[in-house]
């Protein structure tokens, strides 16, 4: 019924109708409701190119990315490179190119290195959301599918701005599991608490990778039950509840509470052996500061001070 974005085979060269820039397709990165994303080679190096099923949805994503680029000093999403159309026969497909984020899917990192990383990513995410909210935007469709983990050091990045909405407007793109309206816990007005609800649901999703449905009972009741039933979630019950009830008006506050719990929780219990192994490879991680690097090496020698390393990572995020 609906038009589909073209399948571009690796090796294909395409040229934009308006700007005449040529791109060579390297591979398909993924496909979603609004379009297909390809990794392409261009004059400026590798880029991600998103080509839409429908032209308006691509244009509104471009609008968001363009406004992001006007916010100075802070990076709110992948940077937009160029917008153009691809002519195929007498059909015209809108596309844009953006910075290519070289990263692993959210869950593949968590599955490999442990859920503990989940809390770290949540803290990073809250810092990013705070900056986004300061700029009067709400992310909207926040979920693991829209997050990538870049490495050295591991850092969460979002990319799909299809749901990003100006503060005060209504959110049009969301995913039910992460949407407070679905759970009967609020409306779809773009405000910080909307995103913070989704953050809580991302945490719950980490604990329950297969997610679950609402069923007949009250939303809050089901979610509370699930939180209490999971050992990894339980320590965060207060933060989660506050976020689910929309009582955090500010990402910074939720971040602070998260970090307090992370530093309080018994580190030995929280850290799986796979994470410890990863920590030992810490030398390979890029260090931002020489001095910190030395401290880091010393900590590795005394590998039992795991809590300190958590604080190190948290420190990196601030």
């Amino acid at each position: 019924m609906k038009r589909q974005a073209p399948e571009l085979i690796p090796g294909t060269k395409l040229t934009g109708k308006w700007h005449g820039q040529t791109y060579r397709v390297i591979k398909k990165l993924g496909q979603g409701a609004t379009g297909t994303v390809f990794l392409v080679e261009s004059e400026r190096g590798p880029l991600a190119l998103k080509i839409g099923h429908e032209n308006p949805s691509i244009t509104s994503e471009v609008n968001v990315l363009q406004r992001f680029s006007k916010v100075q000093d802070v990076k709110l999403g992948p940077s937009l490179i160029e917008t153009d159309d691809l002519k195929i026969g007498d059909e015209s497909f809108a596309f844009y190119t953006m910075e290519y984020i070289r990263g692993a899917p959210f869950f593949s990192h968590i599955n490999k290195y442990g859920k503990e990383w989940g809390s770290i990513f949540i803290v990073q995410l809250l810092g990013d959301l705070d900056r986004l909210h300061q700029a009067s935007w709400v992310f909207g469709d926040l979920k693991p599918d829209n997050l990538l983990i870049t490495s050295s050091p591991p850092r969460v990045r979002w990319f799909d701005v299809g749901g990003t909405t100006l503060m005060g407007r209504s959110i049009k793109e969301y995913t039910e599991f992460f949407d407070r309206g679905y759970w009967g816990l609020g409306d779809r007005k773009a405000e910080p608490s909307y995103d913070l609800f989704s953050v809580a649901m991302v945490m719950i999703n980490i604990a329950y990778p297969h997610r679950f449905e609402k069923g007949q009972a009250e939303g809050l009741e089901i979610l509370t039950e699930r939180i209490e039933a999971h050992t990894w979630l339980r320590p965060y019950r207060k933060v989660l509840r506050t976020a689910l009830l929309g009582r955090y008006t500010d990402a910074q506050l939720m971040k602070k509470d998260m970090m307090e719990i992370i530093s309080e929780t018994d580190s030995k219990k929280r850290f799986s052996s796979s994470t410890k192994n990863r920590m030992k490879q810490g030398k390979q991680f890029k260090k931002t500061e020489g001095k910190r690097g030395n401290v880091w090496d010393a900590m590795l020698a005394a590998s039992f001070i795991i809590l300190a390393s958590v604080l190190y990572w948290v420190g990196q995020l601030m």
Partner: protein, 247 residues
């Protein structure tokens, strides 16, 4: 440019009409009146009959709206998406007309360079956020719908959440068909909120026939009368509507 009110009929049904006039003819009429007709075909499982699916598509096409056939599980998200997309589509049409006035008959939004396209879309987005919406919800309550009405009720509550999150006002009314004595029975009078829906479908006696055409016609008549009344009231203050908005 000012757009005061968008008017839509949302039809939710699970099969083919089998009584009265052709529903897509009525939908064309509605479209002429400036009312958009959206249609959701709903299924418990399996698939809809080919003719049922075709009819759903045809009605929406004639009514200038959007159609979608879905399982009860996806109903909530689909209903809100279809409604929002149809609003955007109508507003896009209004803006396109305006553009043709400036750029010439042949011009379309997509002929604009990508940068200007963004600006136009922003205008459409702004309008979609602030416009007033009048929505006539028409639900098939024939026997086969019995198992699906719980989902319909939830989907409507969800739709109300989405629309109320906008800045613009909303007015909803809900009717079921076939009615006991008339084509349709009103279940909820015009109201800005859809949260008092519990048990709203309880009163119905699901019947066997599906007179979609006559039901649509009754809905159309009610909406037209409403508009005429409103125009009379606002004559002096300069009543506006989407069809007139391009002037």
């Amino acid at each position: 440019m000012s757009v005061a009110t968008l008017r839509q009929i949302l039809l939710i049904t699970d099969g083919c009409s089998n009584h009265g006039e052709d529903p897509s003819m009525v939908a064309s009429l509605a479209h002429e009146e400036g009312i958009t007709v959206n249609v959701i075909g709903i299924l418990d499982q399996g698939s809809m009959s080919q003719e049922g699916e075709r009819e759903v598509e045809q009605i929406a096409l004639a009514g200038g709206g959007i159609s979608q056939v879905v399982y009860t599980k996806q109903l909530a998200q689909t209903v809100q998406m279809v409604t929002r997309q149809a609003m955007t589509q109508t507003l896009q049409g209004v803006v396109n007309k305006e553009l043709q006035g400036i750029l010439g008959e042949q011009s379309e939004w997509e002929d604009l360079p990508p940068d200007q396209r963004g600006e136009v879309l922003e205008v459409v987005d702004d309008l979609g956020e602030s416009v007033q919406l009048e929505l006539f919800i028409l639900v098939d309550t024939s026997a086969s719908m019995k198992t699906k009405l719980q989902s319909v009720q939830e989907a409507l509550r969800d739709l109300s959440i989405s629309l109320q999150s906008r800045e613009g006002g909303n007015l909803f009314t809900l009717s079921g068909f076939p009615g006991k004595r008339k084509e349709i029975d009103q279940l909820l009078n015009w109201t800005p909120k859809l949260d008092s829906l519990t048990n709203v479908f309880r009163k119905m006696t699901p019947s066997g026939v599906t007179p979609t055409g006559p039901a649509l016609k009754a809905a159309l008549n009610q909406m037209t009368k409403r508009k005429q009344r409103r125009q009379l009231l606002s004559e002096s203050s300069g009543g506006e509507d989407v069809e007139e908005a391009s002037s």
